[in-house]
Symmetry: C2
Subunit: 351 residues, 2 copies
């Protein structure tokens, strides 16, 4: 029961009394169209409310004004801001943005990127599961930009934070407040970013002359649901930590309620990744702000630069986006006097 069919270029051409090709030329801003003709065609397009068919266009022209974005999962606050910022920039530039989550599955990630290429996306922005997750894929000359995590792909470029450096600063911040038993809560070290943050942290410990204690390293928190157990176990150690670092926003958001639950909000805590309520908590949370907004914006710019016609001279060096430490209180708590743990470390929940 559709009242009108979609107008196509032929209809425009007929109404303007020109050939289809001329109408096409107007559509593509071909300079070799007489002003008067152009006006007639534009008028016809307006009259018919014509919109070009992207499928036909991309089939014939072999390219499409769309960009694919692959992230771990859009539910995450960090990822959501990252994506929001990418989307905002690219859609202003006239690109349609296709967003899909890999759910941290490498094969899914590969399939998604392949599909984007099949769809003739002009380029893709990927937050890769692992640095080699795209290696070996047949992608033609599809421009690839990795974001938040370095990735490997011929001709690609990565836009990241200085994970090693920031983690080192974070570690130093805690040691300089007198801590010597600092636990790190993270997801798997197969994620490049996470690995770098561990390395930076270890470096900071070494700088402070602190010997490495594997009991304080929890790299088994795949998501926030693992955090509670990890925290419980850390505080059940003979020598529990006096300070904590969480290596990403999602885990940081998990650590706070877990600390409340075990009644150890007197533990120094430094979050990797700032989040909305951080300054309203008691204590307010000290955080490394590796701004997802800026990261996304720069990733988008980087991709746009590669989409410009003659962009062959582009660099493939990783771009490091600056970030800083926001001091709010939780990261400056002093170590509480070392108490040998004797009883179970699960105090009643505060009401």
């Amino acid at each position: 029961m559709k009242s009108h069919k979609e107008p196509i270029l032929r209809d425009v051409a007929m109404m303007a009394e020109v050939s289809i090709k001329t109408a096409s030329r107007v559509l593509n801003n071909d300079p070799s169209v007489a002003p008067l003709t152009r006006a007639k065609v534009l008028e016809a397009m307006r009259e018919l409310d014509y919109r070009p068919d992207p499928a036909a266009r991309s089939l014939r022209a072999g390219r499409d004004r769309s960009v694919g974005v692959v992230v771990e999962g859009i539910g995450d606050v960090f990822v959501a801001s990252l994506v929001a910022s990418i989307e905002s920039r690219l859609s202003d530039a006239g690109y349609q943005v296709l967003i899909t989550s890999s759910h941290r599955d490498v094969s899914r990630e590969r399939a998604i990127v392949q599909d984007f290429q099949q769809r003739r996306c002009a380029g893709v922005i990927v937050m890769p599961c692992t640095e080699d997750s795209l290696v070996g894929l047949r992608l033609g000359d599809l421009p690839v930009v990795f974001v938040d995590r370095v990735g490997e792909f011929p001709g690609s470029q990565s836009v990241v934070s200085d994970d090693f450096g920031l983690a080192r600063i974070a570690g130093k911040h805690l040691t300089s407040h007198g801590h010597r038993r600092i636990a790190i809560v993270s997801d798997s070290q197969s994620v490049p970013t996470t690995r770098d943050r561990h390395a930076g942290f270890r470096q900071a410990m070494e700088d402070g002359g602190i010997t490495f204690d594997p009991d304080l390293v929890r790299d088994d928190c795949l998501d926030e649901s693992y955090v509670r157990d990890a925290i419980n176990q850390l505080f059940a150690l003979d020598q529990p930590p006096t300070a904590l670092i969480a290596t990403n926003t999602r885990l940081s958001i998990g650590v706070v309620p877990a600390l409340h639950l075990v009644g150890r909000t007197d533990t120094a805590f430094l979050a990797f990744g700032d989040f909305p309520m951080a300054e309203s908590l008691t204590p307010a949370i000290t955080a490394i702000d590796h701004s997802p907004h800026r990261l996304g914006q720069i990733a988008a710019e980087t991709l746009l630069a590669r989409l410009k016609p003659g962009a062959l001279d582009v660099s493939t060096e990783p771009i490091v986006v600056p970030a800083g430490l926001i001091v709010r209180g939780s990261g400056e708590l002093p170590p509480r006097p070392t108490t040998q743990n004797s009883s179970a470390a699960i105090p009643a929940r505060a009401t």
Copy 2:
């Protein structure tokens, strides 16, 4: 320098020694292909790592396995979870999900939906700026599902919370704790959801025999950046409120730091929309949990039902997704003794 060209159906056909059409039949699971032939073709496809071209497909077939999603802005935590849940369900069902933000601009919203239709999306899910934002659009028979807010469009269906009822419950919750001066902080009432929540709130006030005071209604908080001023002004009133309601998640997240800032965390507060840190704050935040996850899931299911071949008997009645009140403390604070305001209500910030 691309090593291989993408394999196309012709290559498959040649390798399997059949016609292109037969290969196409295999691709589309046409039953009238001899098992042996089918096997040969499948083998060739595997051999060549063939993947069909979505552009050509959708051009010819007039449809595409993709679904468009339009939301206000993916940066928002509520929206992010909503989208995550939609995306997850639809991509499991084999659809490519296209997500775009309207940035609360009706004309942008319309343009995006038009574009989705041009791209031959199988359907769209829209969180509309206003209920009539799509009215009059030429969309053929594109299935439309509205989410979180009722929308108007011929044949569409909306998946929403019971905004009126929930707001009424929220209001009643506060009045039953003795509050009589309750302020409501919201975005514009041009948003259908917001309007309904105001209505429910007013109903609760009426139920409690409380006379309406326009000074306590702030529907001018377009986003979180307006909240601080609104809160300041509310507490500068001669008779400041003893309780607050915020009508959406984003604003709720803005209210908490604002209350901290003015040192009035003894004000009862009820958030519309739960958020991550709610239970770790002091006081913990009582919230209406109109689960974005469930909302998204049901919206996705609703759309999928309409995408099934013979789905003409579908209902257009709004679907109401249940939600509940999570009691945590902030919503149960008693009114503090009515103090006539004399000094400015901006105490020094707590360090």
